[in-house]
């Protein structure tokens, strides 16, 4: 049976830190979730990579509400893009979380099971 997140897990929103990283001339938003990293490409248009990152974000949302924080915003192009992107993403995260609650899809394990 899937475990529902505790009230504490739901109520107290966690913050995941994001940074802009450069890898072989390409830029990414890197969101740290413990030891895991979710990478969103921002210098190249790679929708499949973005979708893959979104899937990970949805699964992370199942475990509880969170927001993404980018502490260091620099005045270079990709930092500005990342900052704006994260700002919008944060707003959408809250909306999606609300819908997930409505559909009773919040599960502490973040796993997809057939059980209610």
């Amino acid at each position: 049976m899937a475990r529902k997140p505790s009230e504490k897990e739901v109520r107290y929103m966690q913050t995941l830190e994001a940074t802009v990283i450069e890898d072989k001339g390409k830029y990414f938003i890197s969101i740290a979730d413990g030891e895991e990293f979710i990478r969103i490409p921002i210098s190249d248009d790679q929708p499949n990579e973005v979708k893959s990152a979104f899937n990970k974000i949805i699964l992370r949302l199942k475990r509880g509400k969170f927001k993404i924080n980018m502490s260091e915003v620099q005045q270079n192009l990709f930092s500005l893009v990342a900052n704006e992107y994260i700002k919008q993403l944060n707003r959408e995260l809250q909306e999606v979380f609300g819908e997930m609650e409505r559909y009773s899809l919040i599960e502490a394990s973040g796993e997809i099971t057939e059980e209610e």
Binding site: I40, D45, V50, K51, E84, Q88, E95, E114
Partner: protein, 714 residues
């Protein structure tokens, strides 16, 4: 109604069991608990007028008590027993004769000859019942002949045998016979009374019984006419010749050789009643009909899944099948925007375009919650206002207070709903304005505007809905459906009750039972593949290849036929006994079909050769009593038969005989009571009911004995 022409109430002889003694009150208690409504008290060589009167007084009019005696007849050193029974109106006279006859003797030593018996009692018009053959001590044929020649009423001489089977054998040989309980132990009487002879015609008195013995047509017709009857004008045959039949709210039997139009007659009778708006159809025996009746192949099977808490998932299945990927916002849009953000001075002046849209789904959900509560409370208020039980429980004042409180709640909800609505629309208006401004600025300046969404929300909501819908489908697939059990009938004490079970399951992707079959023309493999793909969709709902699985689902052959959970049903219908699958034989199927037909409550039963494939024992022990029971309840029964058990042992009020002679087809009507069959078109053309029945019916000779149950005559 049963008759017992031989009971003892006293221990008269040394050899009599003490259990023959019964007090008037106990006698009444025991007899009234049975179906016996005529009893002749026949103690050994004794008639106790005081006891007789006490019993008669105590039992009232419900049971006829006839005075009698069991005499020891002695002829040429041979002893035999003869019952002499007289009318209750002659009990005093009868008592005096016996008192005078037995004076100075005791019951053990008293004997009398046939001649003397006739001389003493014949003037009372008695019924003589002689112990015969196996009923010991018996009166020999010679002595019987003597009795028959001496008495003024030979038709009132009957032989007493040991049981109904014996009675049957003797009657089939033309000897009137009957049997009584000859009770030895009154504690056993209630049980033994079940085997006593039935009276199919209502016998009102001793004299009445004697007239029936003499087959007096007036008496019989008077009795028959007391029964509800009707004249059926039928046109059963192609030749257009109609016929009128007098039929009773009782058993009406049609017999005759095969091919004489009995089935046509039954069909015409069914039509007659159907035309009058009465449910009537011809029941035809046949072994394959049981499977059809219970629809073992499930051709007409339908089931409502809602009582089992199962959602048909119509919308969910459509959603999954039609789901398509939602694209995300290209990151290039952000890059272009920030590259161009300092380029156009006019564009900079319009700040609205740079505002971020606000979250809309939250205010929308709030409004929907208020709206739902508002509607529910409104409905409840309407319900309260016109609900009498509520008013009765809390009174008018209480109801007013309750309605007042709920009205206040409703007011708050309505106001809240409006506030939430305006908030939601405010956000929507702002978001639309931002969108329009962005678009217009881009058009006018050529500069890209800032994207308002990453596309995450729409992307995520799409996947969430797919997850929700697949879960809903799988949740409902897992719900159990209670096995349906229908009672079919009784296969007898050795085998037990036959049930028809309907097992219904929903294909869960793992069921491979070959005895289950799919409904609604959907293939089993299609059902299985469908469910397997749904499961895979759920497992890959947040994977890149989700839509490949959905495409795979849509490629399953015949998947278009699966629109609801209903198309995933698998069923198995089967017969079972004691929870073990059972395949009834042809005979058993026929038996159960007939049981079923007679078990259905109707006013008219029309049975065409119900005996087909059935054993004599079953007809005799189960079907004949059932038919008689229906007749007692005033139902109309029309039975075409070749079986004497049915045609004779049911003692039909009406027997219709069809035959084909030199001049064509003829129809005769009659009954067992006056033993005639009269041509319905020519009353001078008459046949002997018994002879025709014995010749035409299977098992005729044996069956005729039972007719002795009526009033012991042929």
């Amino acid at each position: 109604m049963k008759i017992d022409i031989h009971v003892h109430t006293k221990k008269c002889k040394k050899g009599d069991a003490a259990t023959r003694e019964v007090s008037p009150s106990r006698f009444c208690e025991i007899v009234l608990a049975t179906d016996v409504r005529i009893i002749a008290i026949t103690n050994h060589n004794t008639f106790d007028i005081d006891q007789y009167n006490a019993i008669k007084k105590a039992i009232g009019k419900e049971v006829q008590i006839w005075p009698g005696i069991e005499l020891d007849i002695k002829e040429e050193e041979k002893r035999g027993h003869l019952l002499v029974i007289v009318s209750p109106t002659k009990s005093e006279e009868f008592s005096k004769i016996i008192e005078s006859l037995t004076m100075g003797t005791d019951s053990d030593s008293f004997t009398i000859t046939i001649e003397h018996t006739v001389k003493e009692f014949d003037s009372l018009g008695p019924l003589y019942v002689a112990h015969y053959k196996h009923k010991k001590p018996d009166i020999s044929d010679v002595e019987l002949e003597r009795l028959l020649t001496r008495t003024a009423n030979p038709s009132r001489v009957i032989k007493e045998v040991t049981n109904s089977i014996s009675a049957g054998i003797y009657i089939s040989h033309g000897r009137p016979s009957i049997y009584g309980s000859d009770v030895h132990d009154w504690d056993q009487y209630a049980n033994e009374s079940h085997n006593l002879p039935d009276l199919r015609l209502p016998v009102e008195s001793f004299e009445h019984f004697c007239l029936l013995l003499e087959k007096d047509p007036t008496t019989i017709n008077t009795l028959l006419d007391k029964k509800t009857f009707e004249i059926l004008d039928l046109n059963p045959f192609d030749n257009g010749l109609g016929l009128s039949l007098k039929v009773y709210n009782d058993i009406n039997v049609f017999f005759g050789s095969k091919g004489t139009g009995k089935s046509c007659l039954l069909k015409a009778i069914a039509k007659h009643f159907v035309d009058k708006g009465i449910d009537a159809s011809v029941f035809e025996a046949g072994d394959s009909l049981l499977e059809e009746k219970y629809d073992l192949k499930g051709r007409d099977f339908t089931i409502n899944l809602e009582p089992f808490g199962i959602n048909y998932c119509t919308d969910e299945i459509i959603f999954i099948k039609e789901a398509i990927e939602v694209d995300v916002t290209s990151v290039n849009n952000y890059v272009f925007y920030f590259k161009a953000v300092h380029g156009n001075q006019n564009a900079k002046k319009i700040r609205l375009k740079d505002l971020d849209p606000e979250e809309e789904s939250g205010p929308k959900r709030k409004f929907e919650d208020y709206d739902k509560s508002d509607t529910t409370v409104k409905e409840f208020l309407k319900f309260l206002a016109k609900n009498e039980p509520v008013k009765e429980v809390i009174g008018s004042k209480g109801l007013d207070e309750l309605v007042g409180a709920i009205s206040r709640l409703l007011k708050g909800l309505s106001e809240g709903k409006w506030t939430k609505f305006t908030k939601w629309k405010e956000v929507r208006l702002l978001n639309n304005a931002i969108k329009i401004f962005k678009s217009e600025v881009t058009k006018k300046t050529g500069n890209p505007t800032k994207p308002s969404t990453t596309g995450f929300k729409e992307y995520a909501l799409n996947r969430i809905k797919i997850e929700f819908n697949t879960k809903e489908v799988l949740k409902n697939i897992r719900k159990p459906i209670k096995e349906q059990v229908d009672y079919v009938g009784n296969l007898g004490v050795d085998k037990g009750e036959l049930e028809c079970k309907t097992k219904v399951v929903i294909q869960d992707g793992q069921i491979s039972d070959s005895t289950l079959f799919a409904l609604n023309g959907v293939k089993k493999t299609t059902q299985k593949d469908f469910v397997k793909n749904i499961k895979e969709i759920l497992s890959k709902v947040y994977s890149a290849d989700l839509f490949e699985i959905i495409a795979k689902l849509n490629a399953v052959e015949g998947v278009e036929d699966i629109k609801t959970i209903n198309e995933l049903l698998l069923i198995k219908k089967y017969f079972s006994v004691n929870d073990i699958e059972y395949h009834p034989s042809s005979g058993e199927s026929s038996m159960l079909m007939l049981q079923n037909e007679l078990g259905t409550d109707k006013d008219v039963y029309i049975l065409d050769e119900p005996e087909k494939s059935l054993g004599h024992d079953y007809i005799n022990d189960v079907i004949v009593p059932l038919i008689k029971e229906k007749a007692r309840a005033g139902k109309k029964l029309f039975i075409s038969t070749h079986d004497a058990n049915i045609a004779v042992r049911t003692l039909p009020y009406s027997s219709i005989y069809r035959c084909h002679g030199a001049k064509g087809y003829d129809t005769y009507a009659g009954n067992p009571f006056y033993n005639h069959l009269v041509n319905i078109h020519n009353s001078s053309d008459q046949l002997d009911w018994k002879k025709v029945s014995m010749r035409t019916l299977e098992g005729g000779e044996e069956a005729f004995g039972e007719r002795g149950k009526i009033y012991a005559n042929t």
